[in-house]
Amino acid sequence: MNIQIKNGRLIDPRNKIDAQQDVFIAERRIAAIGKAPQGFVAEQVIDASGLIVMPGLMDVAARLREPGYEYKATLESEMTAAVAGGVTSLSCPPDTDPPLDEPGLVEMLKYRARSLNQARVFPLGALTYGLKGTELTEMIELTEAGCKAFSQADAPLTDTRVLLRAMQYAATFGYRVWLRPQDSFLAKNGVAHDGEVATRLGLPPIPVAAETIALATALQLARETGVKLHICRISSAAAVELIRSAKREGLAVTCDVSMNHVHLTEMDIGFFDANCHLVPPLRSLRDRDALRAGLKDGTIDAICSNHSPVDEDAKQLPFAEAEDGATGLELLLPLVLKWAGQERMPLLDALAQVTINPALLLGQKIGHLAIGAHADICVYDPNSVWKVEPAALRSQGKNTPFNGYEMQGRVRYTLLDGQIVFQQ
């Protein structure tokens, strides 16, 4: 179907466009920007007056909970949440049950996702069998089945020799390894940043050193093996500094941060708010500021939602016993906009963190609107102010530390492959 999106302000970070331009879609792809191609007849016109037209968002960390945890969320519910949030592509960590360590599981997930025809799903394969940290998975087979990189999710990989071998093997075939750095001994039983708040509330702490020690190990092994390393969800100022100097040295390392850590600190735990029980833990204000500085200077490559829907009962427990995680797909765009506003950052730069940057991390030709690209588009109203109400979220996970927050910016249309998959 031919679609014309007219009168909108087009923002395409990769192509450095921020201007009022019409977008013309034909045969599921971008046919033209600005002027209609010859003979173009729009079958549908979207009036985007006062709205912003941007590439669909790419979220590098969204747990869909399938297979295995359907009581927390299903592919149906979370894909609906994704497109309602303008997210047209997402990668999911392999910590499902069973974990994504066999090609059959990956194929099934891809097939289920495709049949729903909402967002594109790029699964991450398990780096080790069962995420147990002992035996390597069949990375070639998994790649053929559709895995885009290999990860341990939040599961520990304590044996550094296995980590070295995994990186060597992945480097042999040019596969990227994604790691969330955390020393499992230092983090054992911990639920909150080792700081003033954890001390006051008597919550078992996770020191910053748990992150930096694991990160330093991963960086050193990346140096040895030449593997392309992606560091997930960094949380501390010290980790930002380690990555900054690794990049300066020329190491092939990238990293992301969750939107929660861009906005929140340990103080938000307040009186044991289990919605703030997150992995990694919310750290100090100084850490949050350093993460923001890292985003500004390019040390951090992408912002993700770290969408981790949790069922209600699992949060109705004392802080340490409550399951970690928060819903996020529907809040990613407004929280990126909020951050951009607070930092007085041009939208062209800010939106790169959720479009072209994450697309490059996965090596995908998405996240931009050049002629010929997939017509994955998000159209949002930058002036719409709304309040986060859990019951109104489409995700099956209703828990969010941003409950009751005022947001600005609301998705009006989401297009996937040239088809409107969401509108409100």
Binding site: G202, L203, G270, Q316, L317, P318
Partner: protein, 317 residues
């Protein structure tokens, strides 16, 4: 952020922590305690009818003898109906969640819950969940708080020292895992004690403990010098070996309270301990049973302070 312990008029709705308790409420609890000391001692009237017709549920998810018993005695002396539940051995082992248990007891018309739980924040969770006419008293949650213990300690200090504003207090031992220490620190600083010290090896101190308003010492000798009050903490058996401490013997050698060390404190210093004591580990018997010790009066005051808190909460319905 609203103080979850106070109702909209600023009166005490729940007792969850000594942190954030306004000074007038703290002083009110101590004054009421004084009036209950005689009732508690059983010398005059055994019972008062302040909680007549009320149901108090002792909800202990973690075992305790002393605290539960003192709460039970306190409630009975106030004429309440008391139900003791050792949840560790019943509902949760059958898979019932904490809040389901609470809902069931609320359906039995509970007026007050006395809660002990191994997780920090458990009492806050229950307090947020129950109807406004139900009161929650935290009898110890994880490493977070044990407010009635701290209040009885404050009463003991006031009983022997009269004032708070001229005192130097040292808290000795496992601060890291201690809910008692945290509650004591908040109560002492709120009541205006100008100098609160903590004395422990680095393995038994939480990070940023100085942010709670205390001075940190690793050595008993300077730490105990010229203090008015020594508050000892219990060292749990499971901490005595492994990566926190090499042995109980070595701990006693360096951090045990002996008569020689106590001699560094002021001549009229008092020695306190929340119990149960490990004689020869954190405290020498000669000190525990010596003239400076107020450990047994603490227990007596413990009943009165709990009567004071319960009657105050019941009066704020």
């Amino acid at each position: 952020m609203n103080n979850p312990q106070l109702d909209k008029h600023g009166a005490l709705q729940h007792l969850l922590s000594t942190e954030g308790l306004p000074v007038p409420i703290l002083r009110d609890i101590l004054d009421r305690t004084a009036s209950f000391v005689n009732v508690a001692a059983g010398s005059e009237i055994k019972k008062v009818p302040l909680l007549h017709g009320k149901s108090v549920f002792n909800l202990f998810f973690e075992s305790s003898t002393r605290t539960r018993t003192t709460f039970e005695i306190a409630a009975k002396r106030l004429s309440a109906d008391v139900v003791n539940l050792n949840i560790g051995s019943s509902s949760t082992s059958k898979g019932e969640t904490l809040l389901d248990t609470v809902d069931n007891l609320c359906a039995m018309h509970a007026d007050m819950f006395v809660v002990r739980h191994s997780s920090s924040g458990a009492a806050h969770l229950i307090a947020q969940h129950v109807a406004p006419e139900v009161h929650v008293i935290n009898a110890g949650d994880g490493r977070h708080a044990h407010p009635t213990q701290a209040l009885l300690d404050m009463f003991t200090i006031r009983h022997y020292k009269k004032e708070f504003h001229n005192l130097r207090v040292a808290i000795v031992g496992d601060i890291l895992h201690s809910r008692v220490a945290r509650s004591q620190i908040h109560a002492l600083t709120t009541l205006g004690v100008p100098e609160v010290r903590v004395i422990a090896p680095k393995t038994l101190l939480p990070s940023h403990v100085e942010k709670l308003g205390v001075q940190v010492y690793h050595d008993m000798l300077p730490g105990l010098r010229d203090v008015d009050v020594v508050m000892m903490l219990r060292l749990q058996n499971e901490r005595m070996q492994g990566a926190l401490l090499p042995s109980a013997q070595e701990y006693f050698k360096y951090y045990g309270l002996t008569q020689e060390r106590l001699a560094l404190a002021k001549e009229d210093a008092i020695v306190m301990h929340p119990g149960p004591m490990n004689r020869g580990v954190e405290i020498d018997s000669s000190v525990a049973d010596g003239p400076h010790s107020v450990i047994l009066p603490q227990v007596t005051f413990g009943i009165a302070v709990r009567m004071a808190v319960m009657s105050m909460l019941a009066g704020n319905t």
